[in-house]
């Protein structure tokens, strides 16, 4: 069986979530790598775009930022921030967009904090802030979330709600006035979590090989349903080959 790193498995786990014809909103790092991998593996018709306005970039080299000149080469259109976010807020295009994002804290409904740890006015740790994350989470059809599985990150109460997930549960997004979409999966270093269609609460969909649902729970402040947990099918040799040779040969992201 093929050897692989955890980072590689997480990337493939996200890539498998991307469908053909999705428009994929990417950040930097592992999220961009997942989108590149999906395009080569399962979703050749998917389109990668960036909040900076680059649409369907060639990505001959891995960008180090969403404003990296590498995202501007051989696109369909080089636009602006205003254009990129309007595509997501627009109902017809927005519903086709899947956003890939990360955060410092997540709660049971997939709400995210990427602004501050501790009190907003007396921060223990100040983070980068929303960037486009709040916009994407407000607008698009589906989001895929990357997290490190740690108690201090899977919390009962966020220090700051930067990006809306399912808010306080079923129906709350619509009540708030947000688009119908929301978080689809959370991919961590231990498992893949999903959200219940009726309650919108997080549950364990699959654990990575050698990890037990109980171990996963040990790394979370809140309890989630483990009954649906299956074992994750590890990345295939073919998936790994594409990821390593086509997407990040310099291992800038894979390390």
């Amino acid at each position: 069986m093929a050897e692989y790193t955890l980072r590689e498995m997480m990337t493939i786990a996200a890539a498998r979530q991307i469908r053909d014809n999705d428009i994929v909103f990417c950040g930097t790092g592992i999220s961009m790598l997942a989108a590149m991998a999906a395009k080569h593996i399962s979703a050749p018709g998917s389109v990668i775009f960036f909040e900076t306005g680059a649409i369907d970039s060639l990505l001959a080299e891995v960008p180090m930022a969403v404003a990296d000149p590498r995202v501007m080469h051989w696109t369909s259109v080089n636009g602006s921030l205003a254009d990129a976010f309007a595509f997501m807020q627009n109902r017809s295009t927005g519903r086709q967009v899947v956003g890939i994002m990360g955060a410092a804290q997540i709660d049971r409904y997939g709400n995210l904090n990427s602004t501050v740890i501790g009190d907003y006015f007396r921060p223990r740790v100040r983070l980068s802030g929303s960037g486009g994350a709040c916009d994407v989470a407000s607008f698009v059809g589906r989001t895929i979330i990357f997290m490190q599985h740690e108690k201090r990150k899977f919390v009962n109460r966020l220090d700051y709600l930067t990006s809306p997930g399912w808010l306080q549960g079923a129906g709350r997004r619509e009540q708030a006035g947000l688009a119908a979409g929301g978080p689809s999966v959370v991919i961590t270093n231990m498992a893949v979590m999903a959200f219940d269609d009726t309650t919108r609460e997080m549950y364990i969909m699959a654990v990575f090989p050698g990890i037990s649902p109980a171990q996963v729970l040990d790394h979370m402040e809140f309890k989630v349903d483990i009954k649906r947990a299956q074992t994750f099918a590890p990345p295939s040799a073919a998936e790994l080959a594409i990821l390593r040779e086509k997407c990040d040969p310099q291992r800038l992201i894979l390390g």
Partner: protein
Amino acid sequence: MNSDQNKIMDLRTAIRRFVNAGAHISIGGFTLNRNPMAAVYEIIRQRITGLHVYAHSNGQGVDELVGAGCVSRLEIAYAGSGRFAPTCIRFRKAVENRSLAVEDYSNYQMTLRFMAGSMGIPFLPTRSGLGTSIIDKWGFSAELRKTDPKIPNQKLVVMENPLDGWGDADRVVLVPAINPDVTILHVQTADAQGTVRIQGLTFADVEQAKAARCLIVTCEELVEVDVLRAAPDQNQIPFFCVDAVVPVPWGAFPTACYRYYDYDPVYLNQYRQAAIDDERYRTYLEMFVYGVPDHHTLIERVGHRRLEAIKADPQTGYAVNLDRR
């Protein structure tokens, strides 16, 4: 609004004339691309303080202004420089030791605020942020807002849709217009009159430019009026928006300028190393900013070898196979 035929001036004069202590400013670019770094370093060199800065994800330039103590208030969506600094280090220190007042928005909200300013309307609506802390947590208190006529009384306003739910929207967020005293852009080409041509992504530069009361444009290349007039579909900013045209080769260094040069990983990594330690940061400022009379000297100090390494490949517009670790 300025229709002079020749707006060329040197950077020192442009900054002295248009950027005063306490001014409300915005800078162009995004994270590690096309920040007007020569202008940023000149502002630091002139020790201009008390700036109120409006930023979406302006990255490196904002962190250096904050690090040098030029900024007292910052309205921002994202303080990071891509893989080189997921969170800008001097920004983080300044917020944590509460020497900097911050108001948080999203990138689209900040973009819409500049757009509203450029359009001459008080606000623009969006569905972004409903249900989040961006709505309830105000970095600038209502009291502060009431006392300062240069900022709106509200961070934003959530309003029921007055068009009976038209557009499948019950509620919208109204974000207030921004009209900076001055916006500073670095672009690839401009002419003496001020017509601007940006290559590659424009980010929010055009909105920031048109929203500003004064506009300083630094450019890689000053070209003849005819060069830009022959293909006006590719120009973004008409000359009458521009107050100063400042030719500055390598003016975005150490950030990238598409089709001219890439970002410099060496500089950005050294910056990160310096930024995490106050003593080392002082040394950095002495060596690379206060210690040089102008951007040209900084570029010379960086040296031919590194500049060659980041020169853009004419096909792709970036430095192919550049070592970016």
